[in-house]
């Protein structure tokens, strides 16, 4: 292959001029004449039956143009076909404090808020469940009648021979780990503008990662054909999974617009963002793992309980990812997993960056560190002794096509000064290592069908403008730029010549959305295929003119030329004119469907976890711990990420560093605090994401394993590094002060308590020794 001229080179994101000037438009920046403001009434009760809602007083206000209740949103929906258990506005029951009860559309925000105060709701309060372990025992007053004991889903998987595996172990540990609940906290609060058109059509601009699913859901709830609805994704101010399900306002705004026959915009407050939630659940991991004297993991068994909140959402997928990716990063023959997704009367959890893998990885990598210590082995070396040999299929049926983890470990060990530092830093300072991995998109779609997972169209017209039409959603991760780079590389033109039309259901083909790190791999491959077809058409026309074989041609530097004869050269514009004369307008379509071999095993729940390819990450964290206050300061994190091939190294670095940053927040400071179902910190002042002051130096190292099926060898970069950060920090704390923290976030109080407990035990041991003498 000819050397690459655009792929692999740093390129500023194509939408950055719009972003650095403030001219780019996010959903809440949009407004149209006659637009109404929508506001939502939220439940004050965690679990209650709605006896009645009186709206007459609100409707009597001249500023109020529509009021909607559950009667207007009777059709239930949910992101998974097996979980259509929520309504945009509650019909019979509310199930958490903040659940959506009614909505108004009024001429001003103030009037809408006054109207909410005039709505009279009669509730019958029901017993509520807040603790997942208690909720699982519930004999009555279930949150959803059809879910006995408030268990949304449970899965039980066993691969290999656990008894044999534990029998071979020289060291076995059993521990309980707990991870608190965290929120995506994307900087942009959700917003939706719904335009009712006089011909009865709806156009919806929304802050979504998944325009296609939103399109389907609006059609279902509004009982309109999809063909009468257009969903457009404007700039999205971060998602991280928080905009990867249909969020109530995205349905409520269209419902109000249809009722009022006027445009309606709803923008969430930050508090409403926390109540809409869909973040990472409280997770209890009971883990048992054994290693041989040589450090080979002989068996692992996990029992995981996730506190899913009041609705299904992505829940079953989350709990399946926790099991599927638990052991699959290493070569482990004996794996058991018991996963429970439990309902409670709190906002629904869902997908958040590193979906399902993060909390089990924290437990696993923490325990592996402890077992390495038991065996007297270096924790980095223990990881080296458990590596897979790609290509291979893991014990639970995941096909691994490329595996850069060995190089990731080498790189972070080298860059961090591991050999000089591990166990050798002064007391109070420590270093820890951990690994993680993630899917490059799900091999099986949420809604089973034979439809390609994504399609990209490219059009080249007489003006030689190259327009790429993609359904993929730019949410800050670089989706748009990735398409431009691939099309420009294949066609041999400057990136600036490629125009992109994205995420508009009327103009762009279906793409399943920006979640599970699927876009570069899937939409990238589709874009590559479409661009190759356009290039083939151009080459055919040029070959005919030159009287040469098309195989001799190359596209580069805005021209088409014969590789072996510099005299045969034509500019791209002229080549396009030739091709159009020859073919008519140039139009091509590329699509991507994961290969059959990548779709996993046949056991129940086997559909979640399989991916066409996996990314890998290794990290070393260095921390200092103040033994007087328990304060942990993360000093530095070195992260090496195997992304297959960095199509744009600036973007890959940004994704890796951003993942580490988010993991760091969960590791030491972020937690949603609950009191009887009420969120006590629903603001960015109290839910503290790391500012510059809490964020250490984060270094990214790109590892390129060149996946055989990725576009130019690329695989995911946006999520896989998050999960390693948390255990790397926890393991560094152990190295610094000799205590293991099994509960997230690792706050100063917990560190201090662990240090005191350790002192107490040491005193008792010393005292006992003294007594024996």
């Amino acid at each position: 292959m000819a050397p690459l001229s655009i792929i692999g080179k740093p390129l500023a994101m194509t939408d950055s001029p719009a972003k650095v000037t403030g001219f780019g438009k996010y959903a809440d920046d949009l407004s149209v004449p006659g637009m109404l403001v929508g506001k939502i009434l939220h439940s004050p009760h965690a679990h209650a039956r709605i006896r009645s809602i009186q709206a007459a007083k609100a409707l009597a206000m001249p500023e109020v143009k529509a009021v909607a209740t559950g009667q207007d949103t009777r059709i239930p929906y949910g992101i998974l076909p097996i979980g259509h258990d929520e309504r945009a506005l509650a019909l019979d029951k509310v199930r958490y404090i903040g659940d959506n009860v009614a909505a108004v559309a009024a001429t001003t925000e103030q009037a809408a808020e006054r109207a909410l105060d005039l709505l009279e709701v009669d509730y019958e309060v029901l017993p509520a469940w807040f603790d997942p372990l208690e909720s699982m025992k519930a004999a009555a007053a279930w949150i959803h009648d059809e879910k006995p004991n408030n268990i949304e889903k449970e899965y039980h998987h066993e691969f290999g021979d656990l008894a044999k595996g534990f029998g071979e172990a020289a060291f076995v540990r059993e521990e309980r780990y707990f991870a608190g609940e965290v929120n995506h906290a994307a900087m942009e609060p959700h917003a939706t503008l719904a335009l009712w058109e006089p011909d009865g059509r709806l156009t919806v601009h929304s802050s979504t990662q998944v325009p296609y699913y939103l399109h389907r859901t609006i059609a279902e709830v509004c009982e309109m054909p999809m063909s009468r609805i257009r969903v457009i994704k404007p700039l999205v101010g971060g998602g991280f999974g928080g905009k990867s399900e249909v969020i109530p306002l995205e349905v409520i705004a269209p419902v109000l617009a249809v009722k009022a026959k006027r445009p309606v915009k709803i923008t969430y407050t930050r508090e409403e963002v926390f109540l809409a939630h869909r973040g990472r659940p409280i997770t209890i991991v009971e883990l048992k793992m054994g290693i041989t004297r040589e450090g080979k993991i002989s068996a692992v068994a996990a029992r995981v309980v996730q506190d899913g909140g009041a609705y299904c959402g992505y829940g079953p997928v989350t709990v399946l990812y926790s099991g599927a990716l638990l052991g699959a990063i290493y070569d482990i023959s004996n794996v058991r997993y018991d996963g429970f997704r439990v309902l409670t009367n709190k906002p629904a959890c869902g997908a958040m960056r590193g979906h399902g893998t993060v909390n089990v990885r924290f437990a696993f990598e923490s325990m592996l560190d402890a077992l390495a210590c038991d065996a007297g082995l270096d924790p980095a070396e223990v990881r080296r002794r458990n590596l897979l040999k790609a290509p291979c299929i893991t014990v639970n049926g995941l096909r691994v096509t490329s595996y850069g983890l060995p190089e990731c470990i080498e790189k972070v060990v080298e860059r961090s000064g591991w050999a000089q530092k591990k166990g050798q830093l002064p007391k109070g300072r420590g270093i820890g290592v951990a690994c993680s991995h993630y899917v490059s998109g799900a091999a099986n779609p949420i809604i089973r069908s034979n439809m390609p997972h994504t399609t990209v169209n490219i059009k080249v017209d007489r003006d030689a403008a190259v327009t790429v039409y993609t359904g993929a959603s730019e949410i800050g991760q670089g989706s748009d730029t990735m398409h431009v780079q691939i099309a420009a590389e294949i066609l041999g033109i400057r990136p600036g010549r490629v125009h992109l039309v994205a995420a508009d259901t009327e103009l762009t083909p279906v793409d399943l959305g920006s979640y599970s790190s699927r876009v570069t791999f899937m939409a990238g491959n589709a874009c590559l295929a479409a661009a190759q077809k356009i290039r083939d058409q151009i080459f055919a026309a040029v070959a005919k003119k030159f009287g040469c074989d098309a195989a001799r041609l190359e596209a580069r530097d805005d021209s088409i030329f014969a590789k072996d004869d510099p005299r045969l050269r034509i500019g791209f514009d002229d080549a396009v004119v030739l091709a159009i004369d020859f073919h008519g307008a140039l139009v091509a379509q590329g699509s991507y469907t994961p290969p059959e071999e990548s779709r996993g095993g046949k056991h129940k729940g086997a559909g979640v976890g399989p991916s066409p390819s996996y990314s890998y990450s290794a990290q070393v964290a260095e921390v200092s711990v103040d033994t007087e206050t328990g304060q942990v300061t993360v000093e530095r994190i070195v992260a090496a990420h195997d992304c297959g091939k960095a199509l744009n190294p600036v973007t890959v670095d940004g994704q890796v560093i951003g993942s580490v940053y988010m993991g760091l927040g969960q590791a030491v400071q972020e937690e949603m605090v609950w009191e009887n179902g009420r969120l006590m910190n629903p603001s960015l002042l109290e839910y503290r994401i790391p500012s510059t002051l809490e964020t250490p130096l984060i270094e990214s190292i790109i590892v390129e394993s060149e996946d055989p099926e990725g576009p130019f060898g690329a695989k995911e970069a946006g999520e896989g590094s998050l999960a390693a950060t948390i255990p790397a920090v926890a393991n560094a704390i152990y190295d610094a002060v000799g205590v293991r923290l099994n509960t997230l976030p690792i706050t100063p109080e917990k560190v201090l308590a662990a240090l005191r407990e350790k002192e107490k035990q040491e005193r008792a041991r010393n005292g006992a020794k003294g007594g024996a003498r």
Binding site: P10, A12, M13, D15, S16, P17, A18, K19, V20, T21, G22, F23, G24, K25, Y26, D28, D29, S31, H184, A185, A186, M187, E188, P189, L235, V236, G237, G238, G239, F240, T269, R270, E271, I475, G476, Q477, G478, V650, T651, D653, G654, I657, G658, V660, Y661, M662, S683, L684, L685, I689, S691, T692, L693, T695, L697, I698, S700
Partner: protein, 168 residues
């Protein structure tokens, strides 16, 4: 409540708006003046996405009463560069990956502009402290620092290239 006619000088233009006395500067910018570059990311002045300059000093427009700023010159992100142009800071911000989702970028650019105007050569620690009132959820801040450093290098190059002041 009775509205009051106020004059604001925003990005060099004088604009007249009728607003209730409690109306926040951020809402006047976004709703009355159509300057949607400044963002609302929180409810409690904790995110910094709404930062604008009032006479060169960064303030949070989400907690500023609009009518109190009639005598100040307000600069929003839209006013950092003339239309169609980018300042070296904006260029470097784009090139170094300072923006991912971009929602916090207006606030950061305002804070950085204020920093570099009062201190053209800040240390790493000074940059870190100056940007501690702005939250970013995407970047982990490293590429934002890189943007600032590239902009500083550009500023230094420009100073070096400038002719020596006369009479020195």
């Amino acid at each position: 409540m009775t509205k009051e006619l106020i004059q604001l000088r925003v990005n060099g233009e004088t604009r007249e708006v009728a607003v209730p006395p409690y109306k926040l500067l951020l809402d006047v910018l976004r709703e009355d003046l159509g300057l949607t570059g400044s963002k609302r990311g929180c409810d409690d002045s904790s995110c910094g996405s709404c930062a604008v300059l009032a006479d060169g000093v960064p303030i949070l427009a989400c907690v500023a009463i609009a009518s109190c700023y009639q005598d100040a010159g307000i600069t929003t992100v839209e006013g950092i560069a003339p239309p169609g142009e980018l300042t070296p800071l904006q260029e470097s911000y784009a090139a170094a990956g300072g923006s991912q989702c971009g929602f916090c970028s207006p606030g950061f650019l305002i804070s950085i502009k204020a920093l570099l105007e009062r201190n053209p050569n800040p240390s790493d620690e000074e940059i870190r402290v100056a940007l501690s009132s702005n939250l970013c959820r995407c970047t982990g801040y490293m590429q934002i620092y890189e943007s600032v450093k590239r902009a500083m290098a550009h500023g230094a190059a420009r100073v070096a290239a400038a002719p020596a002041p006369v009479g020195r």
